[in-house]
């Protein structure tokens, strides 16, 4: 049986933030995750809050924090420090984030010719944030024969004034294509193939020349060029720098459907940080059983060939995600189950789960489902049956599993994940979580 001070279940932004924070504080951390998920699907920005009627993440944060049912009611003050901390952590891998809580929320182009609101983006996407000058044009540039980015369709969508709510869009939107060197026209490549090609210095050079040529052919004048988010993986900073140096217009990346390169980069940066801090990460380990003694989780079991692998632990951070991440599972008879501990879940009645329109801007009522916690992120019974007492003394719930957030409507998922992960690390790292359980004690 292996031993850890803290077992973190889930390797998304929330889980990895908690794990890195704890490992930095000297805890022996073991991250167990069923597989990769949220980070590989996400567009890689840090959405803290984009609530209609607000201009900045900070304003949205204040608005949401004022709702007692929202996770921000507890977490609001942790967002800024967590954000600052994360910037430092990922900077170690060359990943730079632009924008902050007081930055204006701006519409940035998406890969189907719409926009989405954003304020804090990785450097590679950040050039999309600046307001459009009256004479500025936007060039949509994609590789020929790439199924996840259709420049003509993107340009057509972005020409519509409705695509730029509350602001002026570019003066003109045009589409161009370039031929990626050595890629056959009909290859079934995805963004990752292209990114890996960009990591190769000589390929990168040739591709950037091809892009520059396509951009130049579209005519002179000020503007910016949107490229699908595939500018390198391991060497992304170098690719970005080369792109800026080579292209006649300021480039920015537009995130694509999974696998998402900006998300992968964030995952890699966090994984490296965890490794540097001495934490462990095991992917492919779905927790099968949790042993509880006297209200405390003492052990988790993960499947191993022929038997279970046991990890004794002093605390558990539950970062398994919501419905999309697999932390919540809907049953046939219309209940939601929390998949690791079977925690009680706060959810609307099955009849009221979904909106009539699949893409309803108000989102689905079911989005808000999740686990309720006390002030230390420990699970409680949402019906008040436990009198608000923690169901487990040493379990802390972080990220999308927390009840009360509407991540699609409020765009608050990254902020909640980061702040809750950071808070969990702080609570456990300083031994404040249980009042008596310190790391040293847990380690015994």
């Amino acid at each position: 049986m292996a031993r850890a001070d803290v077992v973190v279940v889930g390797a998304g932004l929330a889980g990895l933030s908690a794990a890195v924070g704890l490992a930095e504080a000297g805890a022996r951390v073991e991250v167990l995750a069923t597989g990769h998920a949220a980070t590989h699907w996400a567009p890689g920005g840090l959405d803290v809050a984009a609530v209609p009627g607000t201009e900045t993440p900070a304003a949205g944060l204040r608005l949401l924090a004022a709702r007692p049912q929202h996770p921000y009611a507890l977490l609001a003050s942790h967002v800024a420090p967590a954000l600052a901390w994360l910037r430092g952590v990922v900077a170690g891998s060359g990943l730079v984030y632009v924008g902050d809580l007081d930055a204006p929320i701006r519409p940035v182009p998406t890969s189907v010719g719409r926009t989405r609101p954003a304020a804090i983006l990785p450097e590679g996407q950040a050039a999309a944030l600046a307001p459009w000058a009256p004479d500025e044009r936007l060039l949509i540039c994609g590789p020929l024969g790439f199924k996840d980015f259709w420049p003509e369709a993107v340009a057509a969508g972005l020409r519509r004034p409705e695509a730029w709510p509350g602001t002026a869009g570019p003066a003109r939107v045009d589409a161009v294509t370039f031929e990626p060197p050595g890629f056959r026209g009909t290859r079934n490549h995805n963004a990752l193939d292209l990114a890996r090609a960009f990591d190769d210095a000589s390929w990168r050079e040739a591709a950037l020349v091809a892009i520059a040529r396509a951009v130049s052919a579209a005519g002179p004048g000020p503007g910016r060029v949107a490229l699908p988010a595939c500018l390198g993986l391991a060497d992304h900073p170098a690719v970005l720098e080369a792109a800026r140096a080579t292209l006649p217009l300021e480039p920015f990346e537009v995130p694509l459907v999974p696998p998402s390169l900006p998300g992968l980069r964030l995952y890699r940066a966090l994984r490296e940080a965890l490794r540097r801090a001495g934490g462990r990460l095991q992917i492919g380990e779905a927790v099968q059983r949790v042993d509880v003694e006297a209200g405390r989780v003492v052990r988790v079991a993960v499947p191993a060939a022929a038997r279970q692998h046991l990890v004794a632990t002093g605390a558990l951070v539950l970062a398994t995600g919501g419905i999309a991440g697999g932390g919540l599972l809907a049953t046939m008879d219309g209940r939601l189950e929390e998949t690791v501990l079977g925690l009680p879940v706060e959810a609307p009645d099955a009849d009221a789960w979904l909106a009539q329109d699949p893409l309803d801007p108000q989102g689905h009522p079911l989005e808000a489902a999740g686990v309720r916690t006390d002030g230390q992120l420990r699970p409680v019974d949402p019906t008040g049956a436990s009198g608000g007492a923690a169901l487990y003394e040493n379990v802390h719930v972080v990220g999308s599993l927390l009840a009360g957030q509407r991540y699609l409507r409020e765009r608050c998922g990254d902020g909640v994940a980061l702040a809750s992960g950071h808070l969990a690390a702080e609570l456990l790292g300083s031994g404040r979580a249980t009042g008596r359980q310190s790391l040293a004690e847990a380690r015994r």
Partner: protein, 564 residues
């Protein structure tokens, strides 16, 4: 586009209508077929996919059983490319009455349905997912039949014989001069324009909607539409059609159709063929019954639920108005001259997809007789277009073809169903302009586990390159930029297609949102709203949405759904 005068106007683009069009065209008549929606979007596109051997009717309705086996043989001959020769099984579960089971072979023989007993060890070897308490099994020549291709082939043959078929033309009025319908008014559902066509004969093959068509001619025709709900499983747990060996009931048939397996069906009377829902209870009841055949069903992933409305017609009023199972599946050709004094209107009601050709033949015979045409029917002898190699299709053909052509590396637009970029472009070349939904039926795009989550925007991307803006030439490369101002209207239309498509897929998912399918919905919704900014909230949320709504083409109620 709409001719002003034809010999025969056929109303309804299901299999029967298409069959009638083909039949009459081959007898030398110039015909027009119209449908209020696209072809095959009514009951034909919403059935379980079974080519009956007749086994299901041997004890209840021997005439129907005989018709089925005859037509089964005909279709295998004339439309093998629309058929997967799965074979069929009638199996006896613990719940099935022994006397019915024991009498089954004899009843089959009496109807001419080939039936042989399958030893149980052989049964479980071939179909290991079947419940082990099954105690008897018979093999019959059931098969799985693809409706859209079948309809398409019938229409193609009709076109080759000088007739026309035009979708999205709703019949909104008929002008009668005494006993004669002098003209029929059509509303173009897409452009909104009206046109008028005169026909020597009008044939209503509108199925469950036949009552409404008849009403336009001032004739009363009381249909008893029966809703049948079906569940689509993500993968096949059987390669053979499996029926319960008992009197037909709910949830007692599983049909492997292409990559999925379809569990059918319920039978609930509905008042309006355009308005019905599928309840979770109905779904659960189906699964519970189906589990008697395949005990793992509760753990298998459903892709969607859909329902079709059977065009049932009662000659006599029923004893129990709710009992639709009791109504005969037999078809009836109604000559409204004798019945209602309308000289040039014939309706065909009742029936089932397996006998569509026979129904068409009998209808065409009636029409031909009335028009004094003596050319006899040839639809049972001559193969349909596309049946050239006389081979059935098989489950792996699409993947095998893909591997053969691209070594698996050709660009995939729809990964679940293997629709390549070339395949999509080819379809668009042939059918442009068309809707995403046409693309779905023509290529199966969006019918897999993600229900279009990953491929829809790709297809829209490919369609955006097509030039409604600058002629029909597909645009490629750097220099086919269109002027910014001309595209806006078409972009809005694309947006509407996208929204309608996503919405329609969603409708089928809603009754079965649990487990992975809810997770999948969440993932795709997250991608659409979070990454792609479709339907995402924003500072001015109404802007985008009103943009969609303003130009939305309302999906024809009850259309668009189907097996995938």
């Amino acid at each position: 586009m709409i001719p002003s005068l034809v010999d025969v106007l056929v109303i309804g683009g299901g299999a029967t209508g298409a069959g009638i069009l083909r039949d009459l065209s081959r007898r030398g008549l110039r015909c027009l077929l119209v449908d209020k929606s696209d072809m095959g979007t009514g009951t034909s596109g919403r059935y379980h996919g079974l080519l009956h051997s007749g086994g299901r009717y041997v004890s209840k309705d021997p005439i129907a059983a005989r018709e089925c086996i005859d037509e089964n043989r005909v279709l295998r001959r004339i439309a093998p490319h629309c058929i997967e020769d799965t074979g069929g099984l009638f199996v006896a579960t613990r719940d099935d009455p022994a006397d019915y089971v024991e009498a089954f072979p004899e009843a089959s023989a009496a109807c001419g349905v080939p039936c042989e007993e399958v030893p149980l060890d052989e049964l479980f070897r071939r179909e290991p997912a079947l419940d082990r308490s099954i105690w008897r099994a018979y093999r019959v020549p059931d098969a799985s039949l693809e409706p859209w291709q079948l309809i398409e082939a019938n229409l193609a043959d009709a076109r080759a014989h000088g007739s026309q078929a035009v979708p999205y033309q709703r019949v909104v009025g008929m002008t009668r001069n005494g006993a004669q319908i002098t003209s029929v008014e059509l509303h173009d559902e897409r452009s909104g324009s009206l046109s008028r066509v005169a026909a020597r004969m009008v044939v209503s093959a509108a199925g469950a909607w036949a009552g409404r068509v008849a009403a336009l001619a001032g004739v009363e025709l009381a249909m008893s539409p029966g809703k049948g709900t079906m569940l689509v499983y993500n993968q096949r747990m059987t390669d053979t059609v499996v029926n319960r060996c008992h009197r037909p009931g709910d949830g007692d048939i599983m049909v492997p159709v292409h990559l999925v397996a379809i569990l059918g069906t319920t039978e609930i009377r509905v008042d309006d063929p355009d308005r019905y829902g599928i309840s979770r209870e109905e779904v659960m009841a189906l699964i519970a019954e189906g589990s008697k055949l395949f005990p793992d069903l509760p753990r298998m992933r459903l892709l969607r639920a859909y329902a079709g409305v059977r065009p049932l017609y009662q000659l006599e009023p029923p004893a129990d108005p709710g009992d639709v199972r009791g109504i005969s599946r037999a078809h009836v050709v109604i000559d409204h001259e004798q019945r209602d004094g309308v000289r040039n209107l014939v309706s065909i009601v009742g029936g089932k997809l397996t006998t569509y050709r026979l129904m068409a033949e009998q209808t065409a015979d009636a029409v031909a007789a009335k028009l004094g045409v003596s050319v006899r029917c040839t639809t049972a002898e001559d193969a349909l277009p596309g049946a050239d190699d006389r081979h059935y299709y098989w489950l792996g053909h699409r993947l095998a073809e893909h591997e053969h052509q691209g070594g698996g590396d050709a660009e995939l637009i729809c990964e679940c169903e293997i629709v390549t970029r070339d395949g999509l472009e080819r379809f668009l070349d042939e059918h442009w302009p068309c809707s995403l939904d046409d693309v779905r039926r023509g290529t199966r795009l969006g019918m897999g586990p993600c229900q279009g989550g990953f491929c829809t925007f790709r297809a829209v991307g490919a369609m955006a390159r097509r030039g409604t803006r600058d002629g029909d030439a597909p645009g490629r490369g750097a220099d086919d930029r269109s002027p910014p101002e001309s595209g806006a209207a078409d972009d809005a239309a694309e947006e509407a297609t996208l929204a309608a498509f996503v919405e329609e897929r969603y409708k089928g998912i809603r009754p079965i949102v649990w487990g992975r399918q809810l997770q999948e919905l969440w993932l795709t919704t997250g991608i659409y709203a979070g990454v792609l900014g479709v339907g995402a909230p924003r500072s001015a949320p109404q802007a985008l949405v009103s943009g969609v709504n303003a130009s939305r083409v309302e999906p024809t109620p009850g259309g668009r759904d189907g097996q995938g």
